[in-house]
């Protein structure tokens, strides 16, 4: 028995953890263990990677299988981490087509959550760059899925939260880059309307995202820094700069749980104020930022989830369709800021629709916030979720720990098709996580 939780450390569940170190044993475990879900590096925030009865640790599937430098097609087992991929291929001039906010995730996890990055509005999710995958089904078969082969299963597995079977390996594309540096432009938005407008204006940039000061209120509600980024070419680096800088590995860390009083309205407000001012000073200049600091700023702080104290935190990420996006985001921010204990890094971003049956992205705005767990949090989240449902939006399952099954059902119209497919392949009840149990998938 092992204590299992997601990155938010809520909920925490004790359960058996079985490890697989090769493809065949992983496939066999998928069929043999009832109520099982595969787990990678445990970076989903809530209960997605905790099995209902059994959890299958897939990080032993960590072998790379092949790479074609001409097409950028990389084949790996599902437990290979994004950190490993970047460390291996960036020095050779390749970078993944899509990266989420941490590099401590596995290929299988990225496919199952159909993760998105700061370029999703132009270049799609991770799943959009997957050519094929090998899937272990509950009846002990292993099938190859692609857009041409077992296409429905392929679409259901991308964003399917591991509930169609265990992803064993996959082929996906990397893109060529000349350097590991990002040319970043910062724009200051004094309020939410300006932020939304800036995100639209910068939509042609490869990467664009807004960081919001959640605690700003009144006329400054939604004040943001909009960060635009492009891969730097070699000739854009100052002479003498290393073209492919190494990752700076967690040089600072949070050694233990911070006492929860450390994180209160005053300290968070001070942090947000500093971050905003610091960013504003760099406004409208192009600065060169190394890849890790640009894409994975929090990876530099080991165990940053301990900042939120022993009780843990939830990350709340919703997407709101364009029609009501601005007004609903504004309403959510109002409620969060009057709630007080807001989040260090809240993020606002434009999304385009995703391609998986259960993919999170849809045309609209997505807002992601961390909120430390407290007694008055659940009613607040329920209120916010109601706003999301009313606007026709949905919640990101990789982050979710709290939504109701009603909220979930309302947000995922292709759920019936997903459930039917799960029935057909015998996955219902067999492939099951605490998340699928909570939401009745």
């Amino acid at each position: 028995m092992k204590d299992l939780s997601g990155w938010g450390r809520y909920p925490r569940v004790s359960g058996p953890l079985n490890a697989a170190f090769d493809i065949r044993p992983a496939a066999e475990a998928t069929a043999a263990l009832p109520g099982v879900i595969a787990r990678g590096l445990g970076r989903s925030y809530g209960d997605a990677a905790i099995g209902r009865n059994n959890t299958l640790d897939a990080t032993g599937l960590n072998r790379m299988k092949g790479f074609d430098p001409d097409t950028g097609l990389l084949t790996t087992e599902a437990g290979v981490s994004l950190a490993d991929i970047i460390a291996t291929f960036l020095p050779r001039g390749y970078f993944p087509c899509c990266v989420p906010g941490t590099r401590f995730v596995t290929v299988g996890g990225m496919i199952a959550s159909d993760v998105h990055g700061k370029n999703q509005h132009n270049h799609g999710t991770f799943g959009d760059h997957v050519e094929w995958l090998m899937l272990a089904l509950p009846d002990d078969r292993v099938v190859r899925c692609s857009r041409d082969e077992n296409a429905e299963l392929f679409t259901a597995t991308i964003g399917g939260m591991g509930l169609t079977g265990t992803i064993l390996s996959a082929g996906f594309r990397l893109k060529q880059v000349e350097t590991g540096w990002i040319r970043q432009n910062t724009h200051v938005a004094r309020n939410l309307s300006e932020a939304v407008a800036l995100l639209r204006q910068t939509a042609s940039a490869t990467y664009t995202v807004a960081w919001i000061d959640v605690l700003a209120r009144g006329a400054s509600l939604g004040r943001s820094l909009v960060l635009e980024g492009e891969h730097a070419r070699k000739d854009q680096l100052p002479w003498g700069d290393v073209p492919f800088p190494h990752a700076r590995n967690g040089r600072i860390g949070v050694p233990t749980d911070m006492p929860s009083w450390m994180l209160n309205a005053t300290t968070v407000k001070a942090f947000n104020e500093l971050y905003y001012r610091n960013g504003a000073r760099k406004a409208d200049r192009t600065v060169l930022v190394p890849w890790d600091a640009y894409f994975f700023p929090l990876d530099g702080v080991a165990n940053w989830n301990r900042i939120y104290g022993r009780r843990g935190f939830v990350q709340h990420q919703c997407v709101i369709p364009d029609a009501k996006a601005e007004s609903v985001v504004s309403e959510i921010l109002e409620r969060i800021s009057s709630h007080g204990a807001g989040s260090f890094l809240a993020v606002l971003k434009r999304l385009a629709s995703g391609s998986g049956l259960m993919s999170f992205p849809m045309e609209g705005l997505t807002l992601a916030l961390d909120i430390p767990l407290s007694d008055k949090l659940m009613p607040l989240l329920a209120e916010i979720d109601a706003l999301v449902v009313e606007a026709g939006g949905r919640m990101y399952l990789a982050k979710d720990a709290t939504q109701s099954s009603e909220t979930f059902v309302a947000g995922y119209p292709q759920l019936d098709q997903f459930r039917r497919l799960r029935n057909e392949i015998g996955a219902t009840g067999q492939m099951a996580s605490k998340l699928s149990e909570r939401l009745g998938i």
Partner: protein
């Protein structure tokens, strides 16, 4: 990964135990230095999985897999004869932790654990040493274990095998001292691998396979005799060896 890998001066590594996690890491480290790699293993398919991984990571193409059963000493000569060339370095990471309880009850199983950890590797490296001595140079690295430093109730069948292997390496080193054939004993301590999966390993005492590999690859420029991968293990094992037997036998270790 330079394109000059193919020049005749390219060095070669024979890695015995090509399915192990430490073996994979060692082979990858040598491939990254431009070496030609041969992985020897009984389970060829599983070793091929590691070979593909190393080729993909390093862009090196010269990673070969050869079948070798460490318990089949009769075939060692043929195995060595059939290698493309006598390697510059041989690293043996073969080991079998086994299940102590089962080894106590099942003599055949205990025999397998002891032979895998001691007899097979020792006999193979003896033949390698002879060929290296005839050539006049070579590096032999044997991965043994801190478990061989003193027998303990929890794993003495494995520990005894490793103790035998450590003693063998020590003797070989002594015999070849003064020649250009070096013999190195590596004692990794706890390593996070599939062999130790599920065990509660103390973080500060546990090395990653890559750290072990780095030390072994480093032997090309920094010669050594006996290496504890994490230095703290040298101290721990010094203390453990120093405890008088009258006390030691009563400890739960």
């Amino acid at each position: 990964m330079s394109d000059t890998d193919q020049e005749p001066s390219q060095k070669s590594l024979l890695l015995v135990g090509g399915t192990s996690d430490i073996g994979r890491a060692v082979a990858a480290a040598y491939a990254a230095m431009g070496w030609k790699i041969t992985l020897a293993a009984r389970d060829v398919e599983s070793a091929e999985r590691n070979a593909a991984d190393i080729r993909t990571r390093t862009g090196a193409h010269e990673v070969a897999v050869r079948p070798l059963d460490i318990l089949d000493a009769a075939r060692f000569e043929t195995f060595l004869d059939r290698l493309d060339a006598l390697p510059d370095t041989v690293v043996c990471v073969v080991g079998m932790l086994g299940d102590q309880q089962r080894a106590q009850e099942d003599a055949e199983y205990a025999t397998q654990v002891m032979r895998t950890n001691f007899e097979g590797p020792a006999l193979l490296l003896e033949m390698v040493a002879a060929r290296f001595a005839a050539r006049g140079r070579g590096l032999i690295v044997g991965v043994s274990s801190v478990a061989g430093d003193r027998g303990r109730a929890s794993n003495y069948v494995y520990g005894a095998g490793k103790a035998g292997f450590s003693a063998y390496l020590s003797g070989l080193r002594n015999r070849l001292a003064g020649t250009d054939v070096q013999v190195v004993t590596v004692k990794p301590g706890f390593v996070r691998t599939s062999m130790t999966a599920g065990m509660d390993l103390a973080g500060p005492l546990t090395a990653e396979p890559d750290a072990v590999a780095e030390r072994i690859a480093g032997l090309q420029t920094r010669p050594a005799d006996v290496i504890y991968v994490l230095r703290v293990w040298r101290l721990i094992m010094f203390i453990i060896r120093s405890i008088p037997e009258t006390i030691f036998k009563k400890l739960k270790l």
